[in-house]
């Protein structure tokens, strides 16, 4: 369960967040939709505990990101905007490093790694050094490493960015599976179709503010638009920075 209340954050003169509030309950996929530069990544970075908000608060399973950062980090699995992996380590070693950072060891850790490798269908590349991996393969490693401690909350920043159709589909399957396991899944995207296809709950942000929120049905009803993507555009007021 993730809650965000009235977040403000400025970088110099740039006001990235001007009062962002929403909840991402357990067992639901919550989509953060907004054009590029709307404040999605900044919001997520506050939730990762990497940025300190100027105002407002955010909690993960009741732990405040400011006062209990380690508790928050133990309860989240994150696929941030920057998702580099170590090219001189194998896929398995990359995942194992994060498992160890989470305090997992030996049999428990290895069993978990094997399960993730099967889940993400990466048996063939698991013991190769990641140098030379395709974007999709690297993304799988990054997802596996984020999920290694079986976190109850999952935060994904534009998870399908740069992926081909097959990989995108695989990632969506993983996201649904995580939801079905009862996790709170929060993911950001500027692709309307993706949000429409996946999300149980949608939070629309533009220029650092939440401009609309609700289930797909609620959004259609409040905007009076039959098509969800038209509903998004009517809420934001422009199509700029979005993708169909």
């Amino acid at each position: 369960m993730i809650t965000v209340h009235n977040l403000h954050k400025a970088f110099g003169d740039v006001h990235a967040l001007r009062g962002v509030s929403f909840d991402a309950p357990d067992g639901l996929i919550t989509g953060l939709l907004g054009p590029n530069g709307a404040g999605k990544t900044t919001t997520l970075r506050v939730l990762y505990t990497l940025l300190t908000p100027d105002e407002g608060e955010a909690t993960v399973d009741g732990f405040n990101v400011l006062t209990r950062p380690l508790e928050v980090q133990r309860r989240i699995g994150a696929l941030p905007d920057a998702r580099g992996i170590y090219p001189r380590l194998t896929a398995r070693e990359n995942i194992r490093y994060y498992g160890r950072l989470h305090g997992l060891e030996n049999a428990v850790l290895e069993t978990r790694i094997d399960a993730l490798i099967r889940l993400l269908d990466m048996q063939e590349i698991a013991d190769r050094r990641t140098d030379g991996f395709s974007t999709g393969e690297r993304l799988k490693v990054a997802i596996a490493r984020a999920m290694v401690h079986d976190p109850p909350n999952v935060l994904l920043d534009e998870p399908t960015n740069g992926l081909d159709v097959m990989s995108t589909r695989a990632v969506r399957d993983v996201i649904r599976r995580l939801r079905d396991e009862g996790k709170s899944v929060l993911f950001s995207s500027h692709i309307m179709q993706e949000v429409a296809a996946l999300c149980d709950h949608i939070v629309i942000i533009a220029k650092g503010r939440v401009v609309g929120a609700g289930s797909p049905a609620e959004l259609r009803r409040t905007t009076g638009k039959e098509d969800l993507e038209d509903a998004f555009v009517s809420v934001i007021g422009t199509e700029e920075g979005l993708e169909r």
Binding site: T49, L50, Q73, A82, Y98, L101
Partner: protein, 392 residues
Amino acid sequence: MKPIAVVFTKELIDNLRDRRSVISTFGYALLGPGMILLMIVVLGSMFREATERPLELPIAGREYAPALVHFLEQNNAVLVDAPGDPHDAVRQGDVDVVLIIPKDFGEDFSAGRPAPVQIVGDSSRTSAMQNVRRAQNLVRQYSQQIGALRLLARGISPTIITAVSVEEVDVSTPQSQAFVFLNMLPYFLVMAVFLGGAAVIIDTTAGERERNSLEPLLISPIERWKLVVGKLLASLPFSMITVWISLGAFALVFNVFPIERYMGMQLSVDGGALVSIFLICLPMVLLAGALQMIIATFTRTFKEAQSYVNWLPLIPALPGMVLAFLPVKATIGAMLIPTYGQQMLINQLIRGELVNPLHVVVSTVATLVSSALLVIIAIRLYSREDILFGRK
């Protein structure tokens, strides 16, 4: 402690697999010993040649002093005709030295008056001064020889004109004469200290940011100070090995290479001194790592960090260079300056001098305290939001 060990182990393995940077780092360690070896061979050969080579001596007015000319020729001087304007030729550097014998030399000589000659040299040209001195010595020898003969002819013992007999006692051991080379060793060791772990530090901080792997790492539940300490510790084996390679190569140069053939004496550095030198280097290893860590936290890319870090060894090297040519006495005050004190101590150890234990303690503690402060600064920098982006 566990998370620190996890970070340490990962960075160690990861960086060991970076073969190219490992090899180039260890190769750098051989640079110092290689340069010193080169200097011994080149300077040694030059020195030997210079003393054995006949002295080529331009002379003007040789016809006025046939006896002196004969004496010079007997003493390994090859006389050639002096250029038209001797002063100008020397000033231009066409010749090192010119001996001018005036017309009335013979007259004064026969009359028993001091017969004048001129030796024209340029004292600002160090390389020429050796030949000037050789010419001066030859003429002086001749003068003394004739003077002694004249006294004998008058029934006076030549020793009467030597009121004070100066006996020069040179207390330098064969090793101390070759100190010019040894004095550079501390400088090269400090270079090894600063270069050894640099690649690892840069890779694990600026490199991590450039590869976009820093953000996910910072999201892991590990305190920042543990991250910094783990990464810093991972660099230490690399700098230590680099120092050892450097020391080993120096030991080879001094103990195995036949330096005697070039310098006329053998140097030696024993195993005990090597171990002591290594131990004295250890606090500097920490200092270098912490300094590089600070730089790596605000640079955006591997390359940018590298361009700054490459300048670092020059800062501690400056006092070391001064030390090489201008020996300063070891004092407590000097020991308080990190890297400076160590260079003095290393110098004393190679000379086989007694090292004051208090100096070792003061220098070690001072450097460790400075390192601790730098580590704290590095941790502070790592804890800032800006660590994600690098300084603008």
